[in-house]
Symmetry: C2
Subunit: 332 residues, 2 copies
C-alpha cells in the first residue's frame, strides 16, 4: 500500500509509492558531466562578455582581470531590472507592479570542467561567502524584500550555460512559497513556543533513519515528505533564522556537509542534474525564534506533470529512509 | 521594464519579461508528433494487457472486445490503491495516511496516431462525457474527497505512453492547491457576493485583449498572470461550480472550444507537449456560488528550475495579450 505523507512545515502532501521502491540505479538520470565546449562567457579571458562585475575574489595584489577564483556579475538577460521605480497599479480586478529587482550570477570557479562537488573546499567556502556578501549588500536597498539564492545544475534542471554557477533574484515582494513557510513556522511557534525545524532536527537525530550525514554544526537529512527521490536538506543544528557564517568557523563546516552530499549524489546517481535553494528569513525580519534557515537540494530524476501541477501533490518512488541509507552507504 | 503580475485567485505572482517578448517561433518546442511505434498496450487487440476495464464506449450490440471508441482502465502502476482502509497515523511530529484512492487511465481513441486535436468532435465529446461519468461514479466512495482529472501530452509533459490518454487520480484529501483556490474564491465571495471567476470573465469579455476564442457557452482566455507562455483557460460563461454537461447541448460546445484551442496551439507551436487540468469543486460541496469550474491548459515550452521551485514565482517571456493575439490569428 502506498503512503501519503505530509510535510509538517508547509502542509504539502506526497505519495510515497513504496511498492515501486526505486533504487538509485533505476533512474535513467540524464547525467550532466561537463565537456570542453565552444566559447564560454564565464571562462577566464572572456570577462568582457559579461555585464560589469559586481564582486570578485582575486589573489591579493593581482590586477589581472582574468585572474580570479569567483566572480559575481549581473545576469545578461535579467528577469528583473535594478534601475527604476517600484510602482504598483491595479487593472480592474488585476494587480501588477514594475519588475524592479536584481538578477545576478555567481560564477563559482574559473575552471569550465569543475562542479561544486569537485572544486576545492576553499572554493566552496568562497561560494558560500559570496552568497552571504550579496545578501548583506542587497539588504540595503529599501525596494527589495527578499533574495532567493538558487542553483540549477545541468540542462535538465534548467541551467542554460554549462560552466558551473549559482543565481540570485532579489524581489520587491516576499514570494508566496516563502511566505507560506514563514507563516506556518510562526503558527507552530505560537502554539508550542518551539521552532518547528528544531523539533524536526531533534526527532531526526534521535531516530537516525533519515540522516544523510552530519558534522559538529550541520546535519543533512532526507525530509519525511520529499517531493523528489533523494531530496536532501541541510540545516544548522543550532537555531538560526538567517543564513550566516559561524562565529568560529565561518562557512567551513557548511562547505564540508554540502560538498559531501553533492559527492554522494554524484557517485550514487551518476552525476545527476539538480536544483538547490537557500531558504532564509526575509530582510525585513530581525533574528527570530520561529524560522530556521536551510538548503533544500533536489536531484532532477522524475518529471513534474499534470498531476503535480494540478494538486501540489508529488509522487515519489523512493522512500526517504531508503534514500538516506543509500546515501550513507556511498563511499566517497 | 519587466512586469510583475498577480493571479487574482491564488495570489501567485509571475514575471512577464516583456523585453524578451518571445514569439511562437522562438520556442524550440520538442514537437511530439506520433509515430507508429512498437507494441502499445492501449491499441485495439491488446485489451488483455491492461487491468480489468472500468468502462468503455462500444457500438450498440457489439460483443467484440477490440471494437471500442473509448476505454477507461485502472493504471497498471497506480500511485494509489482502491482496496484497503483509510488509516491516519502520526509519527512524532509527522503525519501520514494510507494511500487509498484510484488511479485510472482514459484511452481517448483506438487510433494510435491520433491526438485530441485530430479526433472527431464526437470522440472529443465522448472523452468529456467519460470524465463526467467517472467523477459521478467515484463520488459514491465515502473515502474519497477529490478527483483530479488531467492530461499529459507528449514525453516532455510527462506522458510515458505515446497513445493519447488522460488520467484521473481520486484522493482521500482535497489537495493543497485546490483548497487554496477554493478558500481564496470563497474569501472573495464573502467580500463581494460575486464569484471571482465570473468577474474575471466579465472583465475579459469587455476588454477583449486576452480572449483566445469563444462560443455561446464557453470562453477561452489567456489568463492575466500565466505561468507558461500560451497558457489558456476554458471557462463556462454562466456560473457553474461543478464540471457537468449543458442541459441542452451536453458537452458539444465545450468539445468545440477545447478542440479549437488545441488545434490553434498545434499549428502555432508545432504540436507542442502540454498539460491540462480540470479544476472543479470537491465532492463534499454542493453547488456553490463562489467557485467556477474550468480547464487550465499549459503548453510545455519553458523549464521549471530552482527559482520557480523556491519562490512559486514563474518567469514568462510571452505576455498573455500577445499570446492571445497570436492564437486568435491562427487559421485552422
Amino acid at each position: 500500500m502506498p503512503e501519503l505523507r505530509k510535510d509538517p512545515v508547509v502542509g504539502r502532501w506526497v505519495i510515497i509509492s513504496v511498492e515501486r521502491g526505486k533504487r538509485p540505479s533505476d533512474f535513467a538520470s540524464p547525467s550532466h558531466k561537463r565537456r570542453v565546449s565552444g566559447f564560454c562567457p564565464f571562462c577566464p579571458g572572456n570577462e568582457y562578455t559579461t555585464p560589469q562585475e559586481i564582486m570578485a575574489i582575486r589573489p591579493e595584489g593581482s590586477d589581472n582581470p582574468s585572474e580570479w577564483s569567483l566572480r559575481v556579475v549581473p545576469n545578461k538577460f535579467p528577469a528583473l531590472q535594478i534601475d527604476g521605480e517600484l510602482t504598483k497599479v491595479g487593472e480592474g480586478i488585476f494587480d501588477k507592479m514594475s519588475g524592479v529587482g536584481a538578477h545576478e550570477v555567481i560564477i563559482e570557479t574559473p575552471d569550465h570542467l569543475s562542479s561544486l562537488s569537485t572544486i576545492s573546499r576553499k572554493d566552496m567556502e568562497n561560494v558560500l561567502w559570496a552568497y552571504y556578501s550579496r545578501l548583506t549588500d542587497l539588504k540595503k536597498d529599501p525596494r527589495l524584500k527578499y533574495v532567493l539564492i538558487f542553483k540549477n545544475e545541468g540542462e535538465a534542471a534548467g541551467a542554460s550555460l554549462e560552466h558551473t554557477h549559482s543565481q540570485l533574484i532579489a524581489l520587491p515582494i516576499v514570494p508566496k512559497l516563502v511566505r507560506e513557510e514563514l507563516n506556518s513556522a510562526r503558527h507552530y511557534y505560537d502554539m508550542k513556543e518551539r521552532c518547528i525545524f528544531c523539533d524536526i532536527i531533534n526527532q531526526e537525530l534521535q531516530e537516525e533513519k533519515r540522516i544523510v550525514c552530519e558534522n559538529e554544526h550541520y546535519v543533512a537529512i532526507a525530509p519525511y515528505a520529499p517531493r523528489a527521490p533523494f531530496e536532501t536538506w541541510i540545516l544548522p543544528k543550532k537555531h538560526e533564522s538567517h543564513y550566516r557564517p559561524l562565529e568560529n568557523g565561518g562557512f567551513s563546516y557548511l562547505a564540508e556537509v554540502l560538498q559531501r552530499v553533492l559527492k554522494q549524489m554524484d557517485k550514487l546517481l551518476d552525476v545527476p542534474p539538480y536544483n538547490y535553494i537557500l531558504h532564509t528569513s526575509p530582510f525585513n525580519s530581525e533574528e527570530n525564534e520561529y524560522y530556521h534557515w536551510h538548503i533544500e537540494i533536489m536531484p532532477k530524476l522524475t518529471k513534474i506533470a499534470g498531476f503535480e501541477w494540478g494538486s501540489g501533490f508529488y509522487i515519489n518512488p523512493t522512500p526517504p529512509e531508503e534514500a538516506a541509507r543509500y546515501m550513507r552507504e556511498v563511499e566517497i
